[in-house]
Amino acid sequence: MSIIQQHTAASLSDAWRTIDIDALQEDSSVNFDVSTLHPPLPEVSEAEVRQINAQVRQLLRGGDAEGALRGSLEMPVYNGSDLAKEAHLQTVIEVLQSIKASDMTPMLQRIYGTPGGSECLDVLMKYLFKGMASTTSSGGSAPRTPTRMTPQQTGFSQVGSRPGGSSESTGAAMSVLLSWHEKVVEVGGLGSIGRVMTDWRKV
């Protein structure tokens, strides 16, 4: 068989299309650490998170819900252990649940009007999405890591088997998150959703 024939035989099959050419190129994106593109974020330890959370709860008990909300949003846990992140999420959700529906919009508008307020709303949006993604009920006292379900073949049959999916507290927590989501979009606009999706700093 001549070289030319071999070559045509090889290129006639579509196998070459599946070659991952990025892996062969040394400076391609699969061959370097994407996190090097961004400046490193300060790491927050669990102890620090607990301290912030205690302060936030104190403000909440003192009746300063806005201060508590701001406090919890100004110190998001971007770089920390899963436990620390989860603990902070629980605190944020606790604060959100303690605020009356009628107070939401004015409070968000006040926060948005202050310097750095837009950033605060973006952080709140991140926690809202994280809260909706984690299927644990927020009422539980012990912070649980979000239950990762093993992907099922059917893909659609997960609703029934969702852990705690039918429990009342989850439903209540979800409705709180959804009403906050609506209010944040009203004040922060669609831009805040876009920023949550593009941002590399994940809560």
């Binding site: 606009g189 831009g191 941002d199 590399w200």
Partner: protein, 363 residues
């Protein structure tokens, strides 16, 4: 404010557009061709089609003085179209890239052009007299992802580029024998080819869609996918910038932006309308839309007869036709370009987008 001039060319997306210096010819990137429209009366009529690419044309630019057209495409090639009495003659440019070419712009001196690509590099192309062809030099480091956009500094040496690695960068593209040595400025003093004069990342770090130097060249603005606009004021070489002002908006992301003088930026994108930003070193603000609200005609609900209303109810189950946006553009705006300028300020600018419309706006 006079109402904008709207030309609906076709029902296809316009990837990029460019007007000739006399504003009588309009080049539009449509699918795999570049279409040339000539102004006849108040309308644009198709005059010529430049066929040379075999994949989607991503960008097109007409050099104002020489009238040369450069186009680039996903087929990894760039073509320079030389005007001649018998039509445009294409010349292939050796880009040496193995990913799509995404964006092309002539330098203000018109001796070079820059091609951004998905190959994580920018090809700076210039004409080599002795070999009688266009050659390219690559700007590679430290680009880590696709280049989405480039913009030239007025001195034709500095080049700003935006990338999907969320960085906006300023490079030197100085080529010996082609460029005059640039005067030292805020971006640097000695500028050999490939110098990185600045590298910027905003907080939430979205993909950069558009970059632009201010008319003086002393400030850089970029728009990113986090619905933000960031303006950088550099402070001389090897020093941190004087100010980096970032405005997060409530709107959808901007795809393109242009400067109007040193204190105004016009940006447009997924909201299908153009917005005005005002400010300076101390801060920038969104000051409003350029869309005239309550404009008669387009978008406004017309006075309907009762018969028509009931007919609509019968046909579609609703009385009002709500398939039209209230904006002039009916889809995302992808390119803004200055149309008529006096000095540093832009009097009119043009916009094109996914809806196949070319709109000329008064600022």
């Amino acid at each position: 404010m006079a109402s904008p001039e709207v030309h609906h060319l076709f029902h296809n997306p316009i990837a990029d557009h460019s007007f000739s210096a006399d504003r009588k010819t309009l080049a539009v990137a449509r699918d795999t061709t570049v279409e040339l429209y000539a102004k006849v009366g108040s309308a644009f009529k198709l005059k010529d089609e430049l066929k040379g690419h075999d994949k989607t044309v991503t960008s097109v630019d007409i050099a104002p003085n020489s009238g040369r057209i450069v186009s680039c495409s996903q087929d990894r090639n760039a073509l320079v179209w030389e005007p001649s009495p018998t039509g445009y003659k294409p010349t292939l440019v050796l880009l040496r890239i193995n990913r799509a070419a995404t964006f092309v712009r002539w330098s203000p001196s018109e001796t070079k052009f820059a091609v951004g690509s998905g190959d994580r590099l920018i090809a700076i192309c210039y004409f080599e007299e002795e070999n009688d062809w266009w050659v390219s030099k690559h700007l590679k480091k430290p680009i880590r992802s696709t280049i989405t956009t480039v913009a030239w500094h007025p001195n034709s040496v500095l080049l700003a580029a935006g990338s999907t690695d969320a960085h906006a960068r300023v490079f030197s593209s100085f080529i010996k024998g082609v460029d005059a040595r640039p005067e030292p400025g805020v971006w640097g003093e000695r500028l050999p080819f490939g110098t990185v004069c600045g590298e910027y990342l905003n907080n939430s770090a979205g993909w950069v869609h558009s970059v632009a130097f201010s008319p003086s060249g002393d400030a850089l603005a970029y728009a990113a996918h986090d619905s933000s606009i960031t303006v950088v004021y550099p402070n001389g070489p090897d020093q941190p910038p004087k100010a980096i002002v970032s405005i997060n908006t409530q709107l959808l992301p901007f795809m393109s932006l242009i400067w109007n003088g040193e204190a105004e930026i016009i940006a447009a994108g997924y909201d299908c309308e153009a917005f005005r930003f005002k400010g300076g070193v101390d801060g920038w603000q969104l000051s409003g839309t350029l869309e005239a609200k309550g404009r008669p005609g387009l978008g406004d609900s017309r006075e309907e007869s009762a018969l028509n209303m009931f007919r609509q109810m019968d046909l579609r189950g609703k009385a009002k036709d709500d398939t039209q946006l209230k904006t002039v553009h009916q889809n995302t705006i992808t390119t803004l370009r200055p149309y008529e300028s006096s000095g540093a300020s832009v009097k009119k600018f043009s916009s094109t987008g996914v809806d196949g419309r070319v709109v000329i706006w008064n600022t």
